[in-house]
Symmetry: C2
Subunit: 254 residues, 2 copies
């Protein structure tokens, strides 16, 4: 299966290509060249320019769209260009070139304001008083959109576009509300005891999204953390997501 990865110089994009090199034939699209980028055919191009980026979509079976400004604090002008415009372009180029499937890096920040509410507001700071893991209502894929930033709004935009392209043009779309996948690849700080996503669980999740049947789906990308507050049942049931890691094992070192 030929898979185009956008954002191949980024933390997640490069990790995915390296981890899954034996399973997929990768090509890449990125705004910049990078010494850290994996050795695959890469088009260096501004993804907000449709005419120049679309040729990367020729002869491709699926797209893993990770290219974006990743910080939640990204200013609006960059969100507009690199998250909103580019994400539209990815769906449109996929449609125009007959690419069957898009795996879209959405984010927990599309629904980040649920963390203003109990019990999530307490769990994120390590106040577990009166709570038992798994015995409170988790945030699932059916909750309304509650972005915590322009960045989060752009991820909600990407999900809405994905649903439109699925329902009108038949594109298969999996949106991953990714938790915290970080460079140290272990939880750093109390919130990550809930939100951490290990590199191997993320690579497995993306692999399942590429190989299992999907329609339009929203999955939370989070490891099997004892104190996670995002529900992973939909991913487990739909594509057989089977996370192996648990942030709790790192509690003593956060």
């Amino acid at each position: 299966m030929k898979v185009l990865v956008t954002g191949s110089s980024g933390l997640i994009g490069s990790m995915l290509i390296n981890s899954l090199a034996d399973s997929f034939e990768f090509s890449a699209l990125d705004a910049r060249s990078s010494d850290h980028a994996p050795d695959v055919p890469t088009l260096i191009i501004d993804g907000s320019n449709y005419e120049s980026m679309e040729k990367a979509f020729e002869d491709v079976d699926a797209v893993v769209h990770m290219g974006a400004n990743a910080p939640v604090e990204t200013p609006w002008s960059d969100v507009l260009k690199n998250n909103i415009s580019m994400t539209h372009n990815v769906y449109e180029a996929a449609r125009q070139h007959g690419v069957k499937r898009v795996v879209f890096a959405s984010s927990n920040h599309a629904v980040g304001n649920f963390e203003l509410d109990e019990p999530y507001s307490r769990i994120r700071v390590g106040d577990y008083e009166g709570l038992t893991p798994g015995e409170f209502k988790q945030i699932d894929h059916l909750v309304p959109i509650r972005p915590d930033s322009d960045y989060g709004v752009s991820k909600a935009f990407g999900e809405a576009t994905g649903r439109y392209y699925h329902e009108h043009f038949g594109l298969e779309v999996a949106c991953l509300r990714i938790g915290t996948a970080n460079a140290p690849n272990k939880p750093v700080g109390v919130r990550m005891l809930a939100t951490w996503l290990s590199h191997r669980d993320l690579a497995h999740l993306v692999s399942q999204c590429l190989t299992q049947p999907v329609g339009f789906e929203i999955f939370y990308g989070v490891s099997d953390n004892t104190w996670r507050f995002w529900n992973t049942d939909h991913a487990k049931k739909t594509i057989g997501y089977a996370p192996q890691d648990n942030a709790e094992n790192y509690r003593d070192s956060i």
Copy 2:
């Protein structure tokens, strides 16, 4: 109460200013001057340019944001500029200038793909067999986003931005998923027997949004049509929406 109307040369913007002139002190913002525009102070400016449009927000209590490309078929480049960028700018300018409330012209097209499903797919073409008005599940303000177009995606974007600005900055936001408000001000075609919104019901709805307490709300803008499939209970309960018109009265002339 000083109210800025964007899109004052448009069908709805101009109708609102004329209908509600006795109740509010209006000013306006529009991309173009127009003979049809009501006689209020109007800034003619490109709303996608933040620096030039924000001065319209000085000394204003509320904004009614109707300015956008209205056709559902609007191409992406115009949607991006005039719906997405401008709508972001309206929320941001409201925040920067201490404007307390935004009434946003969302659209039924943010959830338009529910009309692919029964019974809405049948009602929209006048096939009522086996159905009784009010005895099927209506589409309410809690359903997931299901846009039917890039235009619909841009309206979902505006709702998501509104929720973010409400929850983070305290802006009061009412999003109106407007049905079909048209120039003849009567239903034209079978679908409008479900979706029609009369001018007086729309003016009343906007007036209630400006004067009644709101937090972040999503209301359907539709008259009291016998065959409507959008639920208006939330608007009736929250702001006392009391529509007077019913498309059914025009059935013989559609």
